[in-house]
Amino acid sequence: MEDIIIIDSVTKKYGKLIALDNVSLRVKKGEIMALVGPNGAGKSTLIKTSLGLLKRDSGKVLLFGKDPFFDPNARRSVGVIFERPSLPVSMPILEFLTHVSKIYNKDSKIIREVIELVGLKGKENTPFSQLSAGQRQRAAIAHALISEPELIIADEPTSNLDPVERNKILDLFTKINKENQLTIIISSHVLHELLRVSNKIAILKSGKILKVGTPDDIVKNVSIARIRCKNPLKIKENLEKIGFSLNAEGDNLYVKTESNEKTSLLLNVLSQEIKNGEQIYGIELIEPGIEEILEG
Protein backbone atom coordinates (compact mmCIF):
# COMPACT_ATOMS: atom_id res chain seq x y z
CA MET A 1 0.00 0.00 0.00
CA GLU A 2 1.03 3.55 -0.71
CA ASP A 3 2.72 5.57 2.06
CA ILE A 4 0.74 8.74 2.85
CA ILE A 5 3.23 10.03 5.40
CA ILE A 6 6.90 9.20 5.65
CA ILE A 7 8.66 10.43 8.77
CA ASP A 8 12.32 9.57 8.67
CA SER A 9 14.74 10.15 11.58
CA VAL A 10 13.04 13.36 12.68
CA THR A 11 14.43 15.26 15.64
CA LYS A 12 12.76 18.36 17.06
CA LYS A 13 14.10 20.34 20.00
CA TYR A 14 12.56 23.17 22.01
CA GLY A 15 15.68 24.80 23.39
CA LYS A 16 17.42 22.03 25.30
CA LEU A 17 14.31 19.84 25.49
CA ILE A 18 14.26 17.07 22.90
CA ALA A 19 10.59 16.76 21.93
CA LEU A 20 11.18 14.22 19.14
CA ASP A 21 14.27 12.05 19.20
CA ASN A 22 15.14 10.45 15.85
CA VAL A 23 11.54 9.41 15.18
CA SER A 24 10.67 7.34 12.11
CA LEU A 25 7.14 6.32 11.16
CA ARG A 26 5.18 5.47 8.02
CA VAL A 27 1.44 5.69 7.63
CA LYS A 28 -0.14 3.76 4.79
CA LYS A 29 -3.28 4.59 2.86
CA GLY A 30 -6.47 3.44 4.59
CA GLU A 31 -4.87 2.90 8.01
CA ILE A 32 -6.14 4.24 11.28
CA MET A 33 -2.87 4.94 13.03
CA ALA A 34 -3.08 5.67 16.76
CA LEU A 35 -0.35 7.71 18.42
CA VAL A 36 -0.47 6.82 22.08
CA GLY A 37 1.65 8.17 24.87
CA PRO A 38 1.53 9.99 28.18
CA ASN A 39 1.33 13.78 28.31
CA GLY A 40 4.58 15.29 27.05
CA ALA A 41 5.48 12.20 25.02
CA GLY A 42 5.72 14.25 21.81
CA LYS A 43 2.42 13.31 20.14
CA SER A 44 1.35 16.87 19.30
CA THR A 45 4.87 17.81 18.21
CA LEU A 46 4.95 14.78 15.91
CA ILE A 47 1.57 15.75 14.43
CA LYS A 48 2.58 19.38 13.90
CA THR A 49 5.90 18.36 12.39
CA SER A 50 4.11 15.93 10.06
CA LEU A 51 1.86 18.77 8.90
CA GLY A 52 4.79 21.12 8.35
CA LEU A 53 3.55 23.49 11.04
CA LEU A 54 6.74 23.04 13.03
CA LYS A 55 10.27 23.17 11.69
CA ARG A 56 12.21 20.02 12.47
CA ASP A 57 15.86 20.18 13.47
CA SER A 58 16.81 17.17 11.39
CA GLY A 59 15.26 14.32 9.43
CA LYS A 60 12.79 14.12 6.59
CA VAL A 61 9.00 14.46 6.42
CA LEU A 62 7.02 13.68 3.28
CA LEU A 63 3.27 14.23 3.19
CA PHE A 64 1.79 12.97 -0.07
CA GLY A 65 5.33 12.99 -1.43
CA LYS A 66 5.96 16.67 -0.58
CA ASP A 67 7.74 18.35 2.30
CA PRO A 68 4.87 20.16 4.06
CA PHE A 69 7.13 22.70 5.80
CA PHE A 70 8.20 24.15 2.48
CA ASP A 71 5.21 23.30 0.29
CA PRO A 72 1.78 24.20 1.76
CA ASN A 73 0.12 22.29 -1.11
CA ALA A 74 1.13 19.10 0.70
CA ARG A 75 -1.76 19.89 3.09
CA ARG A 76 -4.38 20.14 0.33
CA SER A 77 -5.82 16.69 1.03
CA VAL A 78 -5.46 16.80 4.80
CA GLY A 79 -8.13 17.58 7.36
CA VAL A 80 -6.88 18.54 10.81
CA ILE A 81 -8.64 18.38 14.16
CA PHE A 82 -6.90 19.89 17.15
CA GLU A 83 -7.34 18.91 20.80
CA ARG A 84 -9.34 22.02 21.61
CA PRO A 85 -11.78 22.51 18.74
CA SER A 86 -11.29 26.09 17.58
CA LEU A 87 -13.30 27.61 14.82
CA PRO A 88 -13.97 31.35 14.48
CA VAL A 89 -16.30 31.93 17.41
CA SER A 90 -18.87 34.33 16.04
CA MET A 91 -19.37 32.88 12.59
CA PRO A 92 -22.24 30.45 11.92
CA ILE A 93 -20.95 26.99 11.01
CA LEU A 94 -22.51 27.01 7.54
CA GLU A 95 -20.99 30.37 6.63
CA PHE A 96 -17.54 29.36 7.87
CA LEU A 97 -17.62 26.03 6.07
CA THR A 98 -18.72 27.81 2.87
CA HIS A 99 -15.57 29.96 2.94
CA VAL A 100 -13.40 26.94 3.77
CA SER A 101 -14.90 24.92 0.88
CA LYS A 102 -13.82 27.76 -1.44
CA ILE A 103 -10.28 27.65 -0.01
CA TYR A 104 -10.15 24.01 -1.08
CA ASN A 105 -12.03 24.73 -4.32
CA LYS A 106 -14.81 22.27 -3.42
CA ASP A 107 -18.42 22.25 -4.52
CA SER A 108 -20.84 23.72 -1.96
CA LYS A 109 -22.89 20.48 -1.82
CA ILE A 110 -20.08 18.95 0.28
CA ILE A 111 -21.03 21.30 3.12
CA ARG A 112 -24.52 19.81 3.59
CA GLU A 113 -23.08 16.32 3.28
CA VAL A 114 -20.49 16.77 6.03
CA ILE A 115 -22.92 18.58 8.33
CA GLU A 116 -25.29 15.64 7.99
CA LEU A 117 -22.48 13.11 8.40
CA VAL A 118 -21.28 14.59 11.69
CA GLY A 119 -24.82 15.02 13.02
CA LEU A 120 -25.02 18.82 13.09
CA LYS A 121 -28.12 19.13 10.93
CA GLY A 122 -30.27 21.91 12.38
CA LYS A 123 -27.24 23.65 13.87
CA GLU A 124 -25.89 25.05 10.59
CA ASN A 125 -26.70 28.64 11.43
CA THR A 126 -25.51 28.49 15.03
CA PRO A 127 -22.27 30.32 15.79
CA PHE A 128 -19.46 28.08 17.02
CA SER A 129 -19.45 29.76 20.44
CA GLN A 130 -23.04 28.61 21.08
CA LEU A 131 -22.40 24.91 20.50
CA SER A 132 -21.86 22.34 23.26
CA ALA A 133 -18.43 20.69 23.68
CA GLY A 134 -19.49 17.62 21.70
CA GLN A 135 -21.08 19.72 18.95
CA ARG A 136 -17.92 21.82 18.72
CA GLN A 137 -15.85 18.70 18.17
CA ARG A 138 -18.34 17.59 15.51
CA ALA A 139 -18.06 21.01 13.86
CA ALA A 140 -14.26 20.64 13.90
CA ILE A 141 -14.63 17.21 12.26
CA ALA A 142 -16.99 18.70 9.64
CA HIS A 143 -14.36 21.39 8.99
CA ALA A 144 -11.70 18.71 8.57
CA LEU A 145 -13.89 16.84 6.06
CA ILE A 146 -14.67 19.87 3.89
CA SER A 147 -11.53 19.44 1.80
CA GLU A 148 -12.67 15.87 0.95
CA PRO A 149 -9.37 14.79 2.48
CA GLU A 150 -7.47 11.58 1.92
CA LEU A 151 -5.97 11.95 5.39
CA ILE A 152 -7.40 13.17 8.68
CA ILE A 153 -5.09 14.05 11.54
CA ALA A 154 -6.78 14.34 14.91
CA ASP A 155 -4.78 15.47 17.93
CA GLU A 156 -6.49 14.15 21.08
CA PRO A 157 -9.97 14.79 19.66
CA THR A 158 -11.77 13.25 22.62
CA SER A 159 -9.83 14.77 25.50
CA ASN A 160 -12.45 17.37 26.46
CA LEU A 161 -15.49 15.14 26.08
CA ASP A 162 -17.58 13.03 28.43
CA PRO A 163 -17.47 9.20 27.97
CA VAL A 164 -20.67 9.09 25.90
CA GLU A 165 -19.48 11.77 23.50
CA ARG A 166 -16.00 10.19 23.35
CA ASN A 167 -17.51 6.94 22.09
CA LYS A 168 -19.73 8.74 19.59
CA ILE A 169 -16.79 10.69 18.17
CA LEU A 170 -14.62 7.55 17.92
CA ASP A 171 -17.49 5.72 16.19
CA LEU A 172 -17.69 8.64 13.78
CA PHE A 173 -14.00 8.24 12.93
CA THR A 174 -14.52 4.51 12.29
CA LYS A 175 -17.51 5.30 10.07
CA ILE A 176 -15.55 7.89 8.10
CA ASN A 177 -12.65 5.47 7.67
CA LYS A 178 -14.90 2.67 6.40
CA GLU A 179 -17.23 4.72 4.19
CA ASN A 180 -14.69 7.09 2.67
CA GLN A 181 -11.57 4.91 2.85
CA LEU A 182 -9.80 7.73 4.66
CA THR A 183 -6.46 7.39 6.33
CA ILE A 184 -6.68 8.62 9.91
CA ILE A 185 -4.01 9.51 12.43
CA ILE A 186 -5.42 9.93 15.89
CA SER A 187 -3.56 10.66 19.09
CA SER A 188 -4.57 10.08 22.68
CA HIS A 189 -3.10 9.27 26.04
CA VAL A 190 -5.91 6.77 26.64
CA LEU A 191 -4.88 3.50 25.04
CA HIS A 192 -8.05 1.47 25.53
CA GLU A 193 -10.26 3.84 23.55
CA LEU A 194 -7.92 3.69 20.56
CA LEU A 195 -7.61 -0.09 20.71
CA ARG A 196 -11.12 -0.45 19.34
CA VAL A 197 -10.80 2.01 16.46
CA SER A 198 -7.21 1.73 15.24
CA ASN A 199 -5.54 -0.92 13.14
CA LYS A 200 -2.01 0.25 13.94
CA ILE A 201 -0.61 1.78 17.10
CA ALA A 202 2.60 3.69 17.78
CA ILE A 203 3.56 4.13 21.43
CA LEU A 204 5.53 7.26 22.22
CA LYS A 205 7.39 8.19 25.35
CA SER A 206 9.85 11.03 25.94
CA GLY A 207 10.01 11.86 22.25
CA LYS A 208 10.77 8.32 21.12
CA ILE A 209 8.63 5.69 19.44
CA LEU A 210 8.89 2.64 21.66
CA LYS A 211 6.61 0.25 19.80
CA VAL A 212 4.69 0.14 16.53
CA GLY A 213 2.27 -2.61 15.65
CA THR A 214 -1.28 -3.81 15.42
CA PRO A 215 -3.42 -3.56 18.57
CA ASP A 216 -2.88 -7.30 19.13
CA ASP A 217 0.89 -6.90 18.79
CA ILE A 218 0.87 -4.08 21.28
CA VAL A 219 -1.45 -5.46 23.91
CA LYS A 220 -0.64 -9.15 23.40
CA ASN A 221 -2.26 -11.01 26.30
CA VAL A 222 -1.74 -8.34 28.90
CA SER A 223 -4.90 -7.65 30.82
CA ILE A 224 -5.78 -6.16 34.14
CA ALA A 225 -8.21 -7.71 36.57
CA ARG A 226 -9.98 -5.31 38.89
CA ILE A 227 -11.24 -7.10 41.97
CA ARG A 228 -13.58 -5.41 44.40
CA CYS A 229 -13.73 -7.21 47.72
CA LYS A 230 -14.38 -6.82 51.43
CA ASN A 231 -10.90 -7.79 52.60
CA PRO A 232 -8.42 -6.70 49.92
CA LEU A 233 -5.33 -7.06 52.11
CA LYS A 234 -5.90 -10.74 52.75
CA ILE A 235 -6.57 -11.54 49.09
CA LYS A 236 -3.55 -9.43 48.10
CA GLU A 237 -1.37 -11.47 50.42
CA ASN A 238 -2.66 -14.76 49.03
CA LEU A 239 -2.20 -13.70 45.41
CA GLU A 240 1.31 -12.36 46.03
CA LYS A 241 2.26 -15.71 47.56
CA ILE A 242 1.64 -17.40 44.21
CA GLY A 243 3.50 -14.80 42.18
CA PHE A 244 0.95 -12.21 41.05
CA SER A 245 1.98 -8.57 40.98
CA LEU A 246 -0.81 -6.30 42.12
CA ASN A 247 -1.76 -2.91 43.50
CA ALA A 248 -4.39 -2.11 46.11
CA GLU A 249 -6.44 1.08 45.82
CA GLY A 250 -9.15 1.32 48.49
CA ASP A 251 -11.38 -1.75 48.20
CA ASN A 252 -10.01 -2.47 44.71
CA LEU A 253 -7.16 -4.75 43.77
CA TYR A 254 -5.57 -4.41 40.32
CA VAL A 255 -3.85 -7.57 39.13
CA LYS A 256 -1.82 -7.68 35.95
CA THR A 257 -1.86 -10.94 33.99
CA GLU A 258 0.32 -11.59 30.97
CA SER A 259 -1.14 -14.79 29.57
CA ASN A 260 -4.41 -16.66 29.34
CA GLU A 261 -3.01 -19.26 31.72
CA LYS A 262 -2.30 -16.59 34.33
CA THR A 263 -5.79 -15.16 33.95
CA SER A 264 -7.28 -18.64 34.31
CA LEU A 265 -5.15 -19.27 37.40
CA LEU A 266 -6.27 -15.98 38.91
CA LEU A 267 -9.94 -16.80 38.40
CA ASN A 268 -9.43 -20.24 39.95
CA VAL A 269 -7.73 -18.72 42.99
CA LEU A 270 -10.52 -16.19 43.40
CA SER A 271 -13.09 -18.98 43.04
CA GLN A 272 -11.36 -20.80 45.87
CA GLU A 273 -11.34 -17.62 47.98
CA ILE A 274 -15.11 -17.32 47.51
CA LYS A 275 -15.56 -20.95 48.54
CA ASN A 276 -13.49 -20.17 51.65
CA GLY A 277 -15.96 -17.47 52.60
CA GLU A 278 -14.24 -14.33 51.29
CA GLN A 279 -16.64 -11.71 50.00
CA ILE A 280 -15.80 -10.65 46.45
CA TYR A 281 -18.23 -8.10 45.04
CA GLY A 282 -16.98 -7.98 41.49
CA ILE A 283 -14.25 -9.11 39.09
CA GLU A 284 -13.67 -7.20 35.89
CA LEU A 285 -11.08 -7.83 33.19
CA ILE A 286 -10.05 -4.54 31.64
CA GLU A 287 -7.69 -3.62 28.83
CA PRO A 288 -4.29 -2.42 30.00
CA GLY A 289 -3.36 1.23 30.17
CA ILE A 290 -0.31 2.75 28.59
CA GLU A 291 1.69 2.35 31.79
CA GLU A 292 1.17 -1.42 31.84
CA ILE A 293 2.15 -1.69 28.17
CA LEU A 294 5.29 0.34 28.74
CA GLU A 295 6.17 -1.73 31.80
CA GLY A 296 5.52 -4.96 29.89
Partner: protein, 246 residues
Protein backbone atom coordinates in the same frame (compact mmCIF):
# COMPACT_ATOMS: atom_id res chain seq x y z
CA UNK B 1 -5.93 29.59 -7.15
CA UNK B 2 -3.55 30.79 -4.42
CA UNK B 3 -5.10 34.29 -4.68
CA UNK B 4 -8.61 32.82 -4.33
CA UNK B 5 -7.58 30.87 -1.24
CA UNK B 6 -6.02 33.97 0.29
CA UNK B 7 -9.13 36.01 -0.50
CA UNK B 8 -11.36 33.50 1.32
CA UNK B 9 -9.07 33.59 4.36
CA UNK B 10 -9.24 37.40 4.31
CA UNK B 11 -13.05 37.18 4.31
CA UNK B 12 -13.10 34.65 7.17
CA UNK B 13 -10.82 36.78 9.33
CA UNK B 14 -12.63 40.02 8.50
CA UNK B 15 -16.17 38.73 9.03
CA UNK B 16 -15.24 36.97 12.24
CA UNK B 17 -13.54 40.03 13.72
CA UNK B 18 -16.46 42.27 12.71
CA UNK B 19 -19.03 40.36 14.74
CA UNK B 20 -20.75 41.94 16.58
CA UNK B 21 -20.23 44.99 14.38
CA UNK B 22 -21.66 47.65 16.74
CA UNK B 23 -18.26 48.98 17.87
CA UNK B 24 -16.97 49.12 14.30
CA UNK B 25 -20.14 50.85 13.06
CA UNK B 26 -19.86 53.38 15.89
CA UNK B 27 -16.28 54.20 14.90
CA UNK B 28 -17.22 54.56 11.25
CA UNK B 29 -20.00 56.97 12.30
CA UNK B 30 -17.52 58.95 14.41
CA UNK B 31 -15.13 59.10 11.46
CA UNK B 32 -17.94 60.21 9.14
CA UNK B 33 -19.05 62.86 11.65
CA UNK B 34 -15.55 64.27 11.89
CA UNK B 35 -15.58 64.59 8.11
CA UNK B 36 -18.91 66.42 8.21
CA UNK B 37 -17.73 68.72 11.02
CA UNK B 38 -14.79 69.76 8.87
CA UNK B 39 -17.01 72.52 7.46
CA UNK B 40 -16.62 74.31 10.80
CA UNK B 41 -12.85 74.52 10.40
CA UNK B 42 -11.42 77.80 9.09
CA UNK B 43 -9.22 76.14 6.48
CA UNK B 44 -8.17 77.52 3.15
CA UNK B 45 -5.84 74.89 1.63
CA UNK B 46 -6.27 71.14 0.89
CA UNK B 47 -3.40 70.06 3.23
CA UNK B 48 -4.96 72.13 6.03
CA UNK B 49 -8.31 70.36 5.46
CA UNK B 50 -6.54 66.99 5.74
CA UNK B 51 -4.78 68.03 8.96
CA UNK B 52 -7.98 69.38 10.49
CA UNK B 53 -9.97 66.22 9.82
CA UNK B 54 -7.47 63.39 9.91
CA UNK B 55 -5.53 64.44 13.01
CA UNK B 56 -8.40 63.50 15.32
CA UNK B 57 -9.36 60.47 13.23
CA UNK B 58 -5.78 59.13 13.41
CA UNK B 59 -6.08 59.09 17.21
CA UNK B 60 -9.31 57.04 17.03
CA UNK B 61 -7.83 54.80 14.34
CA UNK B 62 -4.72 54.13 16.43
CA UNK B 63 -6.77 53.05 19.44
CA UNK B 64 -8.89 50.83 17.20
CA UNK B 65 -5.77 49.24 15.72
CA UNK B 66 -4.45 48.61 19.23
CA UNK B 67 -7.51 46.41 19.77
CA UNK B 68 -7.71 44.74 16.35
CA UNK B 69 -4.03 44.27 15.59
CA UNK B 70 -2.77 43.57 19.07
CA UNK B 71 -5.42 42.38 21.50
CA UNK B 72 -7.54 40.45 18.96
CA UNK B 73 -4.48 38.84 17.42
CA UNK B 74 -3.45 37.46 20.82
CA UNK B 75 -6.97 36.08 21.14
CA UNK B 76 -6.74 34.50 17.70
CA UNK B 77 -3.52 32.70 18.62
CA UNK B 78 -4.59 31.73 22.14
CA UNK B 79 -7.99 30.30 21.10
CA UNK B 80 -6.34 28.10 18.49
CA UNK B 81 -7.95 29.72 15.45
CA UNK B 82 -4.57 30.82 14.10
CA UNK B 83 -3.15 27.26 14.18
CA UNK B 84 -6.29 26.24 12.27
CA UNK B 85 -5.64 28.90 9.60
CA UNK B 86 -2.12 27.53 9.28
CA UNK B 87 -3.38 24.07 8.35
CA UNK B 88 -4.80 25.48 5.10
CA UNK B 89 -2.71 25.10 1.96
CA UNK B 90 -1.54 28.71 2.29
CA UNK B 91 2.05 29.58 3.16
CA UNK B 92 2.93 31.10 6.52
CA UNK B 93 4.24 34.24 4.83
CA UNK B 94 0.97 34.80 2.97
CA UNK B 95 -1.00 34.12 6.17
CA UNK B 96 1.11 36.74 7.97
CA UNK B 97 0.39 39.20 5.19
CA UNK B 98 -3.34 38.42 5.33
CA UNK B 99 -3.39 39.07 9.07
CA UNK B 100 -1.66 42.41 8.49
CA UNK B 101 -4.18 43.33 5.82
CA UNK B 102 -7.23 42.45 7.90
CA UNK B 103 -5.94 43.73 11.23
CA UNK B 104 -4.02 46.87 10.23
CA UNK B 105 -4.24 47.97 6.62
CA UNK B 106 -7.94 47.59 5.84
CA UNK B 107 -9.24 49.08 9.14
CA UNK B 108 -6.96 52.11 8.80
CA UNK B 109 -7.86 52.47 5.12
CA UNK B 110 -11.57 52.53 5.98
CA UNK B 111 -11.36 54.68 9.13
CA UNK B 112 -9.14 57.29 7.48
CA UNK B 113 -10.78 56.96 4.08
CA UNK B 114 -14.37 57.72 5.05
CA UNK B 115 -13.74 61.13 6.71
CA UNK B 116 -11.38 62.02 3.85
CA UNK B 117 -14.12 61.35 1.31
CA UNK B 118 -16.78 63.14 3.41
CA UNK B 119 -14.61 66.23 4.04
CA UNK B 120 -13.53 66.19 0.39
CA UNK B 121 -17.19 66.47 -0.61
CA UNK B 122 -18.19 68.93 2.14
CA UNK B 123 -15.21 71.21 1.53
CA UNK B 124 -14.91 70.64 -2.19
CA UNK B 125 -14.39 74.34 -2.91
CA UNK B 126 -11.15 74.15 -0.88
CA UNK B 127 -10.08 70.55 -1.58
CA UNK B 128 -10.88 70.94 -5.28
CA UNK B 129 -8.13 73.54 -5.60
CA UNK B 130 -5.56 70.74 -5.48
CA UNK B 131 -6.89 67.22 -4.96
CA UNK B 132 -3.36 65.81 -5.39
CA UNK B 133 -2.11 67.64 -2.29
CA UNK B 134 -5.12 66.44 -0.32
CA UNK B 135 -4.43 62.85 -1.43
CA UNK B 136 -0.74 63.11 -0.49
CA UNK B 137 -1.70 64.26 3.01
CA UNK B 138 -4.20 61.40 3.29
CA UNK B 139 -1.51 58.90 2.31
CA UNK B 140 0.79 60.46 4.95
CA UNK B 141 -1.82 59.77 7.64
CA UNK B 142 -2.33 56.25 6.27
CA UNK B 143 1.43 55.57 6.48
CA UNK B 144 1.50 56.97 10.04
CA UNK B 145 -1.33 54.56 10.96
CA UNK B 146 0.67 51.68 9.44
CA UNK B 147 3.60 52.64 11.68
CA UNK B 148 1.42 52.39 14.79
CA UNK B 149 -0.24 49.21 13.51
CA UNK B 150 3.15 47.57 12.95
CA UNK B 151 4.20 48.39 16.51
CA UNK B 152 0.93 47.00 17.87
CA UNK B 153 1.02 43.78 15.87
CA UNK B 154 4.61 43.14 16.99
CA UNK B 155 3.66 43.94 20.60
CA UNK B 156 1.01 41.20 20.46
CA UNK B 157 3.77 38.62 20.22
CA UNK B 158 5.10 39.53 23.64
CA UNK B 159 2.09 38.52 25.66
CA UNK B 160 -0.48 35.77 26.02
CA UNK B 161 -3.09 38.09 27.52
CA UNK B 162 -5.41 40.17 25.34
CA UNK B 163 -5.70 42.89 28.01
CA UNK B 164 -1.95 43.20 28.52
CA UNK B 165 -1.44 43.34 24.78
CA UNK B 166 -3.94 46.20 24.42
CA UNK B 167 -2.34 48.08 27.33
CA UNK B 168 1.19 47.66 25.91
CA UNK B 169 0.01 48.89 22.50
CA UNK B 170 -1.90 51.90 23.79
CA UNK B 171 0.95 52.81 26.14
CA UNK B 172 3.36 52.50 23.22
CA UNK B 173 1.22 54.82 21.12
CA UNK B 174 0.94 57.46 23.85
CA UNK B 175 4.66 57.09 24.59
CA UNK B 176 5.51 57.78 20.95
CA UNK B 177 3.26 60.84 20.65
CA UNK B 178 4.30 62.15 24.09
CA UNK B 179 7.98 61.82 23.12
CA UNK B 180 7.28 63.89 20.03
CA UNK B 181 5.49 66.58 22.06
CA UNK B 182 8.22 66.69 24.76
CA UNK B 183 10.99 66.98 22.15
CA UNK B 184 9.09 69.83 20.45
CA UNK B 185 8.56 71.59 23.80
CA UNK B 186 12.22 71.37 24.83
CA UNK B 187 13.24 72.38 21.34
CA UNK B 188 10.99 75.46 21.44
CA UNK B 189 11.87 76.53 25.00
CA UNK B 190 15.64 76.10 24.62
CA UNK B 191 15.61 76.98 20.94
CA UNK B 192 17.27 73.73 19.90
CA UNK B 193 16.40 73.39 16.23
CA UNK B 194 17.35 69.71 15.83
CA UNK B 195 14.90 68.66 18.57
CA UNK B 196 12.11 70.48 16.76
CA UNK B 197 13.07 68.73 13.55
CA UNK B 198 13.15 65.30 15.23
CA UNK B 199 9.75 65.95 16.84
CA UNK B 200 8.38 67.10 13.50
CA UNK B 201 9.75 64.08 11.67
CA UNK B 202 7.93 61.70 14.04
CA UNK B 203 4.68 62.66 12.31
CA UNK B 204 4.93 61.95 8.60
CA UNK B 205 1.96 64.27 7.97
CA UNK B 206 3.90 67.17 9.58
CA UNK B 207 6.81 66.67 7.20
CA UNK B 208 4.60 66.46 4.13
CA UNK B 209 2.56 69.47 5.29
CA UNK B 210 5.79 71.47 5.56
CA UNK B 211 6.83 70.36 2.10
CA UNK B 212 3.47 71.24 0.56
CA UNK B 213 3.43 74.66 2.24
CA UNK B 214 6.92 75.48 1.00
CA UNK B 215 8.94 75.01 4.21
CA UNK B 216 12.36 73.53 3.43
CA UNK B 217 12.59 69.94 4.64
CA UNK B 218 15.77 67.86 4.83
CA UNK B 219 15.59 64.38 3.28
CA UNK B 220 16.15 62.55 6.57
CA UNK B 221 12.98 64.11 8.03
CA UNK B 222 10.94 62.70 5.16
CA UNK B 223 12.40 59.24 5.61
CA UNK B 224 12.03 58.77 9.40
CA UNK B 225 8.45 57.40 9.53
CA UNK B 226 8.43 55.45 6.24
CA UNK B 227 11.76 53.77 7.04
CA UNK B 228 10.76 52.85 10.60
CA UNK B 229 7.44 51.54 9.25
CA UNK B 230 9.08 49.49 6.52
CA UNK B 231 11.62 48.08 8.96
CA UNK B 232 8.85 47.09 11.38
CA UNK B 233 6.69 45.66 8.60
CA UNK B 234 9.53 43.51 7.25
CA UNK B 235 10.38 42.44 10.81
CA UNK B 236 6.73 41.50 11.31
CA UNK B 237 6.58 39.38 8.17
CA UNK B 238 9.88 37.61 8.88
CA UNK B 239 9.20 37.20 12.59
CA UNK B 240 5.59 36.07 12.32
CA UNK B 241 6.40 33.63 9.54
CA UNK B 242 8.49 31.94 12.24
CA UNK B 243 6.09 32.79 15.07
CA UNK B 244 3.22 31.10 13.27
CA UNK B 245 4.82 27.76 13.87
CA UNK B 246 2.45 26.89 16.69
Amino acid sequence: MAAKRSWELILIDLWDSLRPPSFDIMLILVATLSGILSVLEPVTTPPAVANAVLGAVLFVTSLYLALRASSDLVNLVQTGVMPLYLTYPISRRVTSLIIYLTRVFLPSLILLGIPAIVSGIMLYPVVGKNIGEFLIMWIAYLIQAQLYGSIFILASNKTKSTGTSAVISITGYFGYTATSVILALIGSIDNIGILNKIANSMGFYNVLYDMLTGISTPLWEILVVPIIFLALFITYIIYFTRRFEP
